[in-house]
């Protein structure tokens, strides 16, 4: 019998309309096409024209439809009616909610604005939220960078004017060796996957340095299963090998870095260790042509790397000489570091040799003329096809800043930064630390703050201290405890506010930060701090306002909830003033716009701040007649000007044809929507490499409004601001650190990269195993668990143990283990993993959920088997017996040292659920439906 094949329609109707906006399922900010049917979201795919993702989209992005219909969405403003933590709320109107917030905040502002601590989590509107905080007048503002990757960002900016991810990217088209350090599976999400695919298709090599071989490390050609926290030592050993073999780019170092700059060698001088400068403050070098001292930037100057300037009996030597002295030392020889890093000396040498081979034997030139800041024209662009990428894995240690510095210095020694084949900046970077703002903390009643909160200190004078020398900020950012804390310390806010150290606050106002769960160290302790009362029966932290779109664990701990929209129901701008979406060849920004309207009584948080700011009479939010200045966030995006002609969006300004600088264009959002939700301006050929020194790039950047004048600069292998803090610790200057911090500042603020071991502070001798978390690529923090599709990919999280530890503890897959740290213990299910450093255990981050949260059933595996490592990590180091509160943070930047966690493991009888099992919280939204068959079209 011949089979009669059915006829099917191979050209069905796809959608009524495609609305193009920006994804917010993670921090990657890809362009998405939202296919609409009958006014509903039918399907989401990547936008092919978008500079970030070029059409591709990850699992999170494609699952956005399940986020927009998630049963965990908050429905209306909530006022707490039971005790904190009970989850007892009543729904109130927006008028009432805004009145409550105004009644709480107005007296604070009138009396002492610093009584408000306003911290935002995974906020993509920091230039706006900081504008609100600055107008309010509190110094207590930051976003989540301090517990994420500030070490990478700050080390990059202090060293070379930018770091990885938002700041720059490998030259995927030319690189031949890509080396990835640490846990980085969602920073940068799609672009890294696209890049790895692209270079692998070309046969280029990928080397992954990570204790865990998953994700990008699983496809790496070579996996280096390093001991956690020792990356800096490994990198400095590579530096040792490369310098010793002369495999460094001498010409690049002489021209574009401070390697030839002279360091004051006068031990008696208050400027000992600082760079010699002329009267205009320009770094001095010795010109090889004349043998004379000269500012580095003069026409025709050929800086000498090895010169010594002798004056008044004192020798002032170059940075390069100091580096040679330090890094050629046998202290950094592979044989000396092998045991500590867990990589054999031979393998370290092989890796160094391969880096050297590719950087120098596979070097190439692009036939592109360019002119540098000294006026010298180069006929070609020298390429060095070695590139690096790293984010939290090496950042989230107490030695993370110096480790990130080491990685940036390695790149610079090889001459691979901003050259073809290497690492390339994305506008508005490169931008040196000196071109960034400094922190401000000038508080006055009823006044805005005297400047931006966050910035880059150049020395003790820039610290955020009160007149009595105590920290001006609640998180102690920019204090002697962590002087260069460029992103603040969100993880210390609740702990410090509770302790009244450095002072008490009145209102804690947070946005998108799940601080009573996965976003805090010491989760149980933080819950207690949020609910504890003083002797009068009042909450120790008197008032808490929280904004979130979803029924997260944090909701129950606030007094007032301002429900946010989902990402498809709102305006946003991914702004050049903030964290834009530029590419190495282009400046770009983007918007979100309401592709659907909310079906609940919720409002975009930024629009709420526009109204709240007006009700509080904040100058930036009111017109002269006292009326509300910005109707909503969309209105702000179009009409706000930071400086004349410069607003949140760079595209379609003026009559629609101006770029970067231009008048307000009332039709700007429509023009973005017509253009697919984004705007791109390409960098001209010849301006797109060597950006910090390339006259054509500098001129283009000025035209775009990125800077007001060209500002070429030298990469700072030697970071002078760090030396200024050391000088203070040695007793120089008026601003002096407290005595208990002097030795630590001297030791850690070394202006050349060093490595130190964070293990002793974490009792590594008694707790010999490092415990890490990673984020699954298909899920991001807690947002994923409410998503019906994504939670089927990662519904619970075993603790992965290496084979050696499984055997040693008599464990088999599915057994349970008790994991103990100096701070606490958890009991969790284990699974063997062979491709893992033999003294490391790990799990997926933030799969574990509190019963009652996220509209999940109380028996959901996330709530019964899932768990957090956060219970093992304290925001303070184990007590040292001196009565002081030592933060579990990098002593330079205050970055949360999540990955310094040291544990012991033993087999445990199987409990009914992962321990600690916390009591359920009452859900403000109920539970999700049993069954989904989601089809919106007919």
């Amino acid at each position: 019998m011949t089979f009669q094949q059915p006829k099917i329609n191979t050209s069905p109707h796809v959608s009524d309309e495609v609305r193009k906006t920006t994804c917010y399922m993670c921090a990657c900010r890809c362009g998405i096409n939202v296919h609409m049917k009958d006014g509903k979201v039918a399907y989401i795919e990547g936008n092919r024209d978008h500079p970030v993702n070029q059409g591709v989209l990850c699992a999170k992005g494609s699952a956005g439809i399940m986020q927009v219909n998630a049963p965990s969405r908050l429905r209306a403003p909530l006022k707490r009616v039971g005790e904190r933590g009970s989850g007892e709320f009543e729904e109130i109107s927006w008028d009432e909610a805004l009145q409550i917030a105004t009644d709480w905040l107005a007296p604070i502002r009138k009396d002492d604005p610093s009584k408000l601590a306003f911290f935002t989590g995974r906020d993509q509107s920091q230039s706006f939220t900081s504008f609100f905080a600055q107008n309010f007048g509190t110094p207590n503002y930051a976003a989540h960078g301090g517990f994420c990757s500030v070490n990478m960002a700050a080390a990059g900016i202090y060293t070379m004017g930018g770091a990885f991810w938002e700041f720059g990217q490998p030259d995927w088209d030319h690189t031949k060796l890509f080396m990835l350090f640490g846990v980085a599976e969602d920073h940068d999400s799609n672009p890294i996957k696209m890049g790895i695919g692209k270079i692998k298709a070309r046969g280029a090599r990928v080397i992954g340095v990570n204790p865990i071989r998953t994700g990008y490390n699983a496809v790496a050609d070579d996996w280096v299963g390093i001991t956690p926290g020792t990356d800096g030592l490994f990198i400095l050993s590579l530096v040792h090998c490369l310098m010793k073999a002369g495999k460094i780019d001498v010409n690049y170092l002489a021209q574009f870095t401070n390697a030839p700059c002279l360091i004051n060698g006068d031990e008696k001088s208050p400027e000992f260790g600082l760079l010699l400068r002329d009267d205009d403050g320009k770094e001095l070098v010795i010109d090889r042509a004349t043998g004379k001292l000269t500012p580095f930037d003069q026409k025709g100057v050929k800086p000498d790397l090895t010169a010594t300037h002798r004056h008044a009996g004192i020798s002032h030597r170059t940075v390069m000489q100091h580096m040679a002295e330090r890094y050629l030392s046998d202290e950094y020889a592979p044989e000396a570091v092998a045991e500590r890093v867990g990589i054999s000396a031979k393998r370290i040498r092989i890796l160094a040799a391969e880096i050297a081979r590719v950087a120098f034997d596979e070097a190439f030139e692009l036939d592109q003329e360019w002119t540098d800041f000294r006026g010298e024209t180069h006929k070609t662009m020298q390429g060095r096809p070695v590139s690096f990428h790293s984010m939290r894995g090496i950042s989230a240690h107490a030695n993370g800043f110096q480790t990130c510095r080491a990685l940036h210095v390695l790149q610079i020694l090889l001459g691979t930064v901003e050259v073809p084949g290497g690492f390339r900046f994305k506008p508005p970077y490169p931008k040196p630390a000196t071109a960034h703002p400094k922190p401000h903390c000038g508080v006055q009643p009823d006044c805005p703050l005297d400047g931006p909160h966050l910035g880059f200190v150049q020395g003790p004078d820039d610290l955020a201290l009160k007149e009595d020398g105590t920290p001006a900020r609640i998180d102690k950012a920019f204090s002697w405890e962590n002087p260069m804390s460029a992103h603040g310390l969100m993880h210390m806010v609740i702990s410090n506010a509770y302790a009244g150290d450095p002072y008490k606050i009145d209102t804690l106002f947070m946005y998108m930060a799940n601080m009573s769960w996965n976003s805090s160290m010491n989760t149980r302790g933080v819950i207690d701090m949020l609910t504890d009362k003083d002797e009068n029966g009042d909450y120790v932290i008197p008032r808490i306002i929280y904004s979130d779109a979803y029924s997260s664990e944090m909701v129950a701990y606030a007094d007032l909830i301002l429900p946010d929209t989902t990402y498809l129901e709102r305006h946003d701008c991914i702004s050049l003033l903030d964290r834009p979406i530029c590419e190495a060849d282009a400046a770009a920004d983007a918007i979100r716009w309401p592709v659907i309207e909310p079906d609940r009584d919720v409002r975009g948080f930024q629009s709420v701040l526009c109204e709240l700011g007006a009700k509080l009479g904040l100058p930036g939010f009111t017109n002269e007649d006292g009326s509300q200045k910005y109707a909503d966030y969309g209105d702000y995006i179009v009409n706000h000007q930071r400086k004349p002609g410069i607003g949140p969006l760079a595209g379609f300004r003026g009559d629609g044809s101006d770029t970067g600088r231009g008048d307000v264009n009332p039709d700007q959002l429509d023009r973005y929507i017509e253009n697919g939700g984004f705007f791109v301006e390409h960098i001209p050929d010849g301006a797109n490499y060597y950006k910090p020194w390339n006259a054509a790039y500098q001129d283009w950047a000025v035209g775009m409004g990125l800077f007001d004048s060209p500002q070429p600069y030298l990469f700072t292998l030697y970071v002078e601001p760090m030396r200024r803090f050391q000088l203070a610790a040695e007793g120089h200057g008026d601003r002096q650190p407290p005595d208990h911090l002097r030795e630590r500042i001297k030791a850690t603020m070394d202006p050349l990269p060093i490595w130190y071991d964070p293990a002793p502070d974490n009792h590594g001798d008694q707790y010999p195993i490092t415990a890490l978390t990673q984020r699954p690529m298909a899920m991001y923090h807690s947002w994923g668990s409410q998503n019906a599709w994504l939670r089927q990919l990662h519904g619970h999280n075993p603790l992965y143990l290496p084979t050696k530890l499984m055997r040693k503890n008599g464990l088999s897959d599915g057994d349970w283990a008790k994991v103990t740290s100096p701070h606490g213990e958890i009991t969790v299910p284990v699974l063997e993993m062979a491709a893992l450093n033999e003294n490391t255990v790990w799990t997926w981050n933030a799969i574990g959920k509190r019963k009652g949260a996220w509209a999940l059933d109380e028996n959901a595996p996330e709530a019964t088997k899932g768990f957090l490592l956060n219970h093992l990590i304290h925001e303070l180091l184990p007590p040292k017996g001196d009565g002081l509160r030592w933060a579990n943070s990098d002593p330079i930047t205050g970055q949360a040292a999540w990955f310094d966690l040291k544990v012991r493991i033993e087999k445990a009888p199987a409990p009914a659920e992962s321990q600690p099992a916390m009591e359920p919280i009452k859900s403000p939204v109920g539970k999700g439906p049993k069954q989904l068959a989601w089809k919106v079209g007919k």
Partner: protein
Amino acid sequence: MTTLPTSTDRKLGLVIDLDTCVGCHACVISCKGWNTENYGAPLADTDAYGSDPSGTFLNRVHSYEVQPEQGEAQLIHFPKSCLHCEDAPCVTVCPTGASYKRVEDGIVLVNESDCIGCGLCAWACPYGAREMDAVEKVMKKCTLCVDRIYNENLPEEDREPACVRTCPAGARHFGDFADPDSNVSKLTAERGGMDLMPEQGTKPVNKYLPPRPKDTLSEGAGDIDILAPYLEPVAQEASGFLGWLDKTLEKF
């Protein structure tokens, strides 16, 4: 019993590169999204927010650890969907003719209106590539996005399966294996594309590209001696190093 065509005009299918797949599940969810909204019944999820969520997926990614005899363990991500076999046992086992292989392009489809949900095809498939939808009670499987690849309502560049269009690492390729000059045929030839479980005799159309050799920059691997000269010291002491720097700078 349903008959297979004796031959098909084209052999459309996928090449999946196991050297590049990072295991991100983008293909899984993109497939879920497109096929929930399009061909046939939506892909349902039961107990979606409960203790045992279970949904229909036409494509899943599995991860396997591999321990080579020498060297470090490896992790391989393995995306799996219907392989559109030439000798598809799921078709011949179908009692109603609901499962069939298309003559024009070789795509194996289920005609849902004829499917009685007996599940024989899922038992017959050696790859576990078919899933019974718990709500609709019909058999679901990869359609190779038959409603995309010819769809005149989509821009031409989008006429490829959703999983291929979305794959961030570029590990998935779509084309016609009957054409020796197609991208998929060439990739298969160049990279030693393999059949999955060839001993089953199903003649799968989809091919997998094997991972390239790993960890060649390690002790015991071949590259060490070739690389050693790259670390030949220019000097033993800091002073000798500075002399080398001087000499090198003179060249510029």
